[in-house]
């Protein structure tokens, strides 16, 4: 039942099992693990989305409410967190910054989805065929209500590459910054 989340109502992206102690121990049973994994996956994505987190430092995140439920004193162990993020990588929902697997970009929408969103926004605001700097996209005054607002630049590059590959955009240098033109 959903009430295990505790007395105080938690945001809807909190998993059903947030208050269930075994949720923080990797389940040996494959069936149980598949359920556990999928709940953790959507929790990480939902959490990052709600907090506008673009990258996750696993060691730091370990002590946040994402992986540490103080009320029942349970913490998801680092190897298990890594396993979940590894699974997110498989579906393009995450990407390791380095092979040490300590920091990961979290794509709570896949790069393809973000690319389409960016394209849609540029189109609907009549900015096609004009050059926009990457900062205008993610920090500009007009895109504050967009999901990609504030996006990590490295992630943005990845998303824009999708548009370039689709033949919908071109990326080039504008002084120190990069610019993009969409058509």
């Amino acid at each position: 039942m959903s009430d295990v989340k505790g007395e105080t109502t938690l945001p809807p992206y909190y998993p059903e099992f947030y208050g269930f102690p075994p949720f923080y121990t990797r389940q040996p049973n494959t069936l149980s693990w598949s359920s556990q994994l999928s709940q953790w996956r959507s929790f990480i994505l939902g959490y990052c989305r709600a907090h506008k987190l673009w990258r996750l430092n696993l060691v730091d995140a370990m002590d946040t409410e994402l992986f540490f439920n103080k009320s029942i004193n349970r913490k998801l162990p680092l190897p298990t967190i890594r396993e979940v993020v590894d699974d997110l990588v498989k579906t393009s929902n995450a990407e390791w910054l380095s092979s040490e697997k300590s920091i990961a970009y979290i794509f709570w929408r896949t790069p393809e989805d973000f690319a389409s969103q960016i394209y849609g926004w540029i189109d609907s605001t009549g900015q096609k065929n004009t050059v926009l700097t990457l900062l205008e996209l993610t920090e500009g005054d007009h895109s504050t209500d967009q999901e990609f607002y504030g996006m990590d630049q490295a992630m943005l590059n990845k998303c824009l590459n999708v548009l370039v590959k689709r033949g919908q955009a071109q990326v080039f240098s504008v002084g120190d910054d990069k610019g993009i033109k969409v058509w």
Binding site: M1, Q36, N73, R74
Partner: protein
């Protein structure tokens, strides 16, 4: 009087029995026609009742369960009614009388129950409390907009619906663990030890091996074997972060 002993007495006896049998026949006829009238009156009443209160039956769980109980008392099974839809009229007479609203309600509900059981099987191994099914279905109904007024469901409705799945041989069974009614959607019979462990979890929320040893007087290997078996079937989840390893059941949340 003595004349009766004569041959004519034979005739008389035949006559007598004829009279009796014709009288009997006429009695039977009146009786039958009375019954037929009664039955048709009853049918009409029941039918009117169920059409008149169709929406009430669908919306008010208390009313619905009372109606279902009344049907059981007078020997009408509102569910058997339409499950035996045969060519001859005898099979679905009740369905005709009750209208389709009652049994359709239970069948639609049964489909929803099967869905919930399937969807939650990875997390609970196929054992779920009636209560959770009830809440999930109501929540789903609300999120899809439902029937406007919102679906009202009682535990009794769920149990009745699960019962109507029986003829399908689908392996959906009601079972009682402790005080909780559960639906088991996988073909697995619990032995007494396993049932006992699940019952303890219902009460305490979890078990440990020591707890089982201390309270049930089992030896540790027995307790471990039971727990391991339930773990293997995904009915239990393990927690290793506080002292002794503990085992929890998602269905007892």
């Amino acid at each position: 009087m003595r004349r009766r002993v004569g041959l004519a007495a034979l005739d008389r006896r035949v006559q007598d029995s004829q009279t009796w049998s014709s009288h009997g026949a006429s009695l039977r006829r009146t009786h039958q026609s009375e019954l037929t009238t009664q039955l048709s009156v009853f049918q009409a009443a029941l039918s009117t009742f169920s059409t008149q209160y169709a929406s009430e039956i669908r919306q008010n769980p208390k009313f619905r369960s009372e109606f279902a109980r009344m049907c059981t008392v007078i020997g009408v099974d509102p569910l058997a009614a339409s499950s035996s839809r045969q060519q001859d009229k005898g099979g679905n007479i009740w369905a005709e009388m009750l209208g389709s609203s009652v049994n359709d309600f239970y069948f639609e509900l049964a489909v929803k129950i099967v869905e919930v059981c399937r969807e939650t099987r990875t997390k609970n191994g196929g054992l779920i409390s009636v209560n959770e099914v009830q809440e999930t279905i109501i929540k789903k109904d609300r999120s899809t907009g439902g029937g406007g007024t919102g679906l009202q469901l009682s535990e009794d409705d769920i149990i009745r619906s699960v019962e109507c799945l029986k003829p399908l041989g689908s392996g959906f069974e009601m079972m009682k663990i402790g005080k909780t009614m559960m639906i088991r959607s996988v073909p697995k019979e619990f032995n007494t030890d396993q049932a006992k462990v699940l019952e303890v979890i219902q009460v305490l929320g979890f078990v440990t091996i020591r707890l089982l040893v201390d309270n049930l007087g089992w030896i540790a290997p027995r307790a471990q074997a039971v727990v391991d078996d339930l773990m293997a079937e995904a009915f239990l989840w393990v927690d290793e972060q506080e002292g002794e390893t503990s085992y929890w059941a998602p269905c007892a949340l």
